[in-house]
Amino acid sequence: MIEVKDLKKSFDDKAILKGISTSFEAGKTNLIIGTSGSGKTVFVKCLVGLLTPTSGSISYDGIEFTSLSQREKKEIRTKIGMLFQGSALFDSMTVEENVMFPLNMFSKMTSKEKVERVNFCLERVNLVGANKKYPAEISGGMMKRVGIARAIVLNPKYLFCDEPNSGLDPKTALVIDELLSDITHEYNMTTIINTHDMNSVMGMGEKIVFLHQGYKEWEGNRHELLESDNETLYDFIFASEFLKELRKGAGKSIKLGK
């Protein structure tokens, strides 16, 4: 469980996050949505400590994170897995070496166990037969999957994914969503996913936080989402004229999920 209280972040004097409070439970897929530039990446980077918040508090299972020393932060970070928006694969290493990197750094496994673990994770993300390729030689979708494999290889307690399926075709995107949702439930992880893909929102949104102009505009689950009467949220979801028409026609009675 990660709790955020009144989180603020500004760059120079440009405020990006203007006071956000929310919480993310373990074993649930928590989604952060918002338009491009609304501060999703900044929010997640504040949570993991890559950016220092201007003010506010962040706690990991009761441990206040922002006031920890560098060494204590490192301790928590070994329990964090993160997929970056651009995958951030190490381009001097092969796919296999990328996924094995955290194991080499932090685990005491034998090299046979490591190889098994790496192959298990790569199978988990549906990526076999690319072990010896370099990041420059694989597609964007494959890179995302390697990134996820690398993020989960140490069995993290907390998993952060910054737009895991942007730039992917709808079918591959769905595979990745299902994978994230499965591992979250299976290992009882606290998973936080940035997205602006409505398929993901409707497919796996157990908790959804909608960021708008630096504030938390709305939060709830995917069922509540459709019943909400928040206009800003509706403008975000039903962006095209076509969908707006559709919504008018159907009234507010569309129900998804069941």
């Binding site: 694969l89 190490f90 080499n104």
Partner: protein
């Protein structure tokens, strides 16, 4: 920007290098990779440049002294001393500032803008130690060795030029090589090598590690790395010469 800002950020970066490695085997492997990239891969350029510099030094010294009553064996003596005292350490490091410096800055800059450095930080790795420390140590080990190679090759280059351009006989050149030899000069050369490699790697690491933006900023950082390293190397060269040659 404010120089204090850079000095502060530089100090923090260097301070963070000194931390216990998360895994000594991984650091060791990275060190070997860097020694290969910085040292082994620079052997051809350093040797080629040194060869021609030795040759040019010989030809031009012979040209400069043709109006004087200087004995011909002085060519060997001058080539040896110029290579050891000045050309091998300084010119090699200026070349390395161009090659290794721009390489380090653009590699780190690329890792920074594609979030690879962030990804390592998230895993709990001390990136200054793992990425910068290994490069600096690799340079401290390999660059002085490269300079020794450069001095040897330069002296051979001078010999080839002397003999091929009929400046003097091989025997004369060899006599010059043995004349007035001061072992202290070798220490001077190695001191320069250590100081210059420290300067050029820390400056390039600083530039690359703190890139913000995109591909254009990487290019700018790598140019800044080259320029600053070159300037610092020559300033240090002067001060070393001034303090040690008094």
């Amino acid at each position: 920007m404010n120089p204090f800002y850079h000095v502060g950020r530089f100090t923090v970066m260097v301070g963070r290098i000194f931390n216990k490695p998360e895994s000594s085997t991984m650091y060791w492997k990275e060190l070997l990779r860097q020694m290969n990239q910085i040292g082994v891969e620079s052997v051809p350029i350093i040797a080629m440049v040194a060869m021609f510099i030795g040759a040019v030094t010989a030809i031009q010294f012979a040209y400069q002294i043709q109006d004087f009553l200087v004995p011909l064996y002085y060519v060997g003596f001058i080539v040896r001393d110029s290579m050891i005292i000045e050309m091998a350490p300084t010119v090699s490091c200026m070349i390395l500032a161009g090659k290794v410096g721009s390489n380090i800055a653009s590699e780190l800059g690329n890792m920074r803008i594609t979030s690879q450095i962030d990804a390592m930080e998230i895993m709990g790795i001390n990136t200054p130690g793992y990425l910068l420390g290994t490069k600096i140590i690799a340079a401290l080990i390999t660059i002085p060795a490269l300079i020794v190679v450069a001095a040897f090759v330069g002296i051979i280059g001078g010999m080839l030029a002397t003999v091929l351009s009929d400046i003097s006989t091989l025997q004369e050149y060899e006599r010059g090589l043995r004349a007035f030899f001061v072992p202290f000069n070798v220490r001077l050369m190695l001191t320069k090598g250590v100081v210059f490699s420290l300067l050029l790697t820390t400056v390039s690491c600083y530039q690359g590690y703190h890139v913000e933006g995109g591909a254009i900023e990487i290019g700018q950082a790598s140019t800044r790395a080259v320029v600053l390293s070159n300037i610092l190397i020559l300033i240090a060269d002067y001060f070393i010469a001034f303090t040690l040659l008094k």
